[in-house]
């Protein structure tokens, strides 16, 4: 596999605030990545750094083996679709689609036309008069039809309805299968996209806290519940992501449980429950303890 992006010790400070904090990771070719995290976690800053729109305070970035800053040969292979794309005054969607081939050499006008029909984008209306969802659709169409070797979608679907989001997911998968490329998708709708992702990077307070294959993540985490004594005995020194108490019942979320662990837990009379990718990420990025009812 070829590495498309390589970041080492990447740091971005805005005054005293550190938006991206010593992040090191790599992105492999022809893979769909999820860049996930809470609001203000540093996702957008990270993408701006990778696309040369921000200068790093420290650390290094290599995109297609070179620095992306002011580098036409790198930037020409990148498409960055952001939540709040601004367009020239008086622009209409048809102008956006007509100018796209100047920037993206793989632009497929026919594919764009099909998407325009599916998303029902009014191509002759002024951009300023578009609804939030229609504006998002314009960005999504550019992102898909540009077929850039490295495509970023930063919260691409603000205001898109459920039908339009499903169209986006389906077309992304179909087109990705025929024209493999590297896609980095940042979103809060983790449950909706989790099956699309091959690899997940989770960022929290500027730091990378998960960088793993999506399916591996899905299989490892579990909740273990039972009486406090039996749960505590099983947990031992393992790190607990979250602990919940209800009367005498204790439930803990553990990040890594292999099949031997699972057998031990069941044999000890403990109940095992599943943890979805979304739940896992919520638990990794929020306060770890909740107690329901009175002190036990």
């Amino acid at each position: 596999m070829t590495t498309v992006v390589e970041a080492n010790g990447l740091t971005k400070r805005f005054g005293k605030f550190t938006a991206v904090d010593d992040a090191s990771f790599s992105v492999e070719e022809n893979t769909i990545y999820g860049l996930l995290g809470r609001n203000g976690a540093g996702k957008t800053t990270m993408m701006q750094l990778l696309t040369g729109q921000q200068f790093a305070s420290a650390g290094s970035i290599r995109v297609f083996g070179e620095s992306p800053v002011e580098n036409a040969s790198v930037l020409g292979r990148i498409c960055f679709i952001k939540e709040s794309q601004s367009y020239p005054e008086d622009f209409r969607p048809k102008h956006v689609f007509a100018s796209a081939p100047w920037f993206f050499e793989n632009w497929d006008a026919e594919f764009a036309q099909r998407l325009i029909a599916e998303f029902r984008v009014p191509v002759n209306r002024r951009i300023k008069k578009l609804s939030r969802g229609q504006l998002s659709a314009v960005g999504v169409i550019v992102g898909l039809a540009s077929r850039a070797p490295l495509t970023f979608f930063d919260e691409p679907y603000l205001g898109l309805d459920a039908v339009a989001r499903q169209i986006f997911y389906d077309r992304l998968l179909e087109d990705f299968a025929e024209h493999p490329r590297t896609v980095i998708l940042s979103t809060h709708l983790i449950d909706e996209v989790s099956a699309l992702l091959e690899h997940v990077i989770v960022i929290d307070e500027g730091k990378i806290i998960i960088d793993e294959n999506a399916d591996a993540l899905r299989g490892e985490a579990a909740t273990v519940s039972g009486t406090k004594a039996s749960v505590d005995a099983f947990v031992g020194a393992r790190p607990v992501l979250r602990r919940e108490k209800l009367g005498g019942l204790t439930s803990v979320t553990l990040e890594h449980l292999d099949s031997a662990d699972r057998k031990t837990a069941v044999a000890a009379g403990l109940e095992l429950g599943p943890v979805s990718l979304q739940q896992l990420i919520v638990r990794k990025t929020s306060i770890p303890e909740t107690e329901f009812g009175a002190q036990s």
Binding site: T31, I32, Y169, D170, L173, E174, F176, A177, E178, D191, S194, A195, L196, L197, E198, A214, D215, A216, R218, G219, V266, G269, P274, V275, S276, L277, Q278
Partner: protein
């Protein structure tokens, strides 16, 4: 697809179920990785991992340049494998739970014999 287990395992199981049920006959061609990905709305690499798991197990085999096929004898092999799994995942916990409740093995056998008979597919 349920989000709590690796999807590639679920894909492999779905194909196994089709072979067990006879929907996918032995020596029949199975859909391509991209077709699975589009149908289940999952990442093609994940679908490929599920299919490859069955290739490694000898349930499916590749014909170069043509596609993936169900191996002869797969149905019987899968049935055997599932029976073993059934014993480990259902029968053993059942006995453990019964013991916890003070149900003897003889009482358990009586209960099973008295339970209504499932009139579904007997395969």
């Amino acid at each position: 697809m349920d989000d709590s287990r690796p999807i590639f395992l679920q894909i492999a199981e779905a194909i196994e179920n089709d072979i067990l049920a006879g929907t996918l006959a032995e020596e029949a061609q199975v859909p391509s990785t991209n077709e699975f990905a589009a149908f289940y709305r999952i990442n093609p690499a994940t679908a490929g991992k599920g299919v490859n798991l069955l290739v490694d197990d000898g349930i499916l085999y590749k014909k170069r340049g043509i596609g993936m096929f169900v191996a002869t004898g797969s149905q019987a092999r899968l049935a055997r494998k599932r029976r073993d799994q059934f014993e480990a995942e259902y029968v053993h916990p059942l006995i453990a739970e019964a013991a916890k409740l003070g149900v003897t093995q003889a009482q358990l056998v009586t209960m099973i014999q008295a339970a209504p008979i499932y009139e579904g597919d007997t395969k």
